[in-house]
Subunit: 207 residues, 2 copies
DNA sequence: TACACTGGCAACCACGTGTTACAAGCCCCC
DNA sequence: GGGGGCTTGTAACACGTGGTTGCCAGTGTA
């Protein structure tokens, strides 16, 4: 098996297919066509088939792709088949919305711990997790082999929380706030950017 | 003035620059270099200069770009200079987190109304808005000339809420849930996809 | 004055993607 | 059983975009 890295484009698209497939499965579907995936992801149907056919023959002509099978295969390709432990910092409204959503679980991410620096929140329960003190972050990250940290704190606390994550050994930070965060070179930061996408969409709507 | 449409790539990047600039401004900065924008957006510094220089000379050699000025110019280019009214559906944890965040306001989006179908929530206050019944959506959209609707409802209610938005005349829907939504061809749907980005990031982290 | 830094260009190249076209396989309906 | 409509898989081609490199022109600083 060649260990060629996927190009960024392919990896990004595969991840998006996966989201559509996961959701379609939830809706009880068991097969789906490349065209339909394209409608939901805004990706050319030919492109989708080309992406997938590069790794094997996953579809049935005249029918489409079996959803369960395709999910399994894409997970294999992305090498994210197993469960991954992540930590969540911030137990406010946003944090609890995230913790109680099934989004992460649906994609194989297990929220290994919820942390907050506010003593008033520590010890409380959100969903089925209880909120721990940020001071315990290091232990949790090391014990559970956590690579990904999700930041759901106010802008003002983002850098501090990010520093805590970095110090604990997290390598990928997903930042829900708009704050700009400085990290060492070996830590990558991703931002949730709904507003950016809306701006983008708005431009093309206004022609 | 030529009305050439920007390419999708340029428009997307400009929007992202805008986010970085907005945030840098908040931090008290008043100028920034292309290289620094590149670090936060993962865009090549030369690419950034090329994007910007296509519309005029915005920067000062040896110094960088004046943040206020650049924000104004990019807003002009994206033709999203003014205030835009948007509506928010869903007054749960996620909805109230969104409503009380300054993200939208920072980029010129005014939340013209918050709606929920749950009678228990209608009439309550989140942030400085009071929650209205979804039945009043049509009037609000027409009155305030709303183009963008933000969906912060559970998966199960997403399609129904989207239908309400479409019926009211909204043209761009931003869906915070993972649900797949069917809309008429003239309505575009965008999804928040933190999990997709994490999957993507994780692949490249695992090499 | 000398130097380091930064934007503005230009030219070239590699890659990815859109497009078109077509054969092969599968399903359903007649 | 046969025919027609779908859908995948695949190839070939053109185009656009972005990465890269290199250089010059201003700016601020030592």
């Amino acid at each position: 098996m060649e260990s060629d890295r996927l190009t960024v484009g392919v990896a990004a698209r595969l991840s998006r297919y996966l989201q559509v497939l996961t959701q379609a499965k939830k809706m009880g579907r068991d097969s789906i066509s490349s065209q339909e995936i394209g409608e939901y992801t805004n990706v050319n149907a030919t492109q989708i088939r080309r992406d997938l056919s590069g790794f094997g023959k996953f579809g049935k002509r005249g029918v489409g792709y079996n959803i369960d099978f395709l999910i399994t295969e894409i997970r294999k390709i992305l090498r994210t088949s197993g469960q991954h432990n992540i930590v969540l910092i911030g137990a406010g409204r946003l944090g609890s919305a995230i913790a109680s959503s099934s989004t992460f679980a649906d994609h194989g991410f297990n929220i290994a711990g919820v942390f907050d620096s506010d003593p008033a929140k520590v010890g409380s329960e959100i969903g089925d997790k209880h909120v721990q003190d940020v001071a315990d972050l290091v232990a949790a990250v090391r014990e559970r082999n956590v690579i990904v940290g999700v930041l759901a704190v106010p802008e003002g606390a983002a850098q501090e929380a990010a520093d805590a994550l970095v110090g604990a050994g997290v390598k990928i930070i997903f930042n829900y706030s708009d704050a700009l965060i400085d990290t060492p070179a070996d830590v990558t930061v991703h931002r949730s950017s709904p507003v950016v996408e809306i701006l983008h969409a708005l431009y093309f709507h206004l022609t």
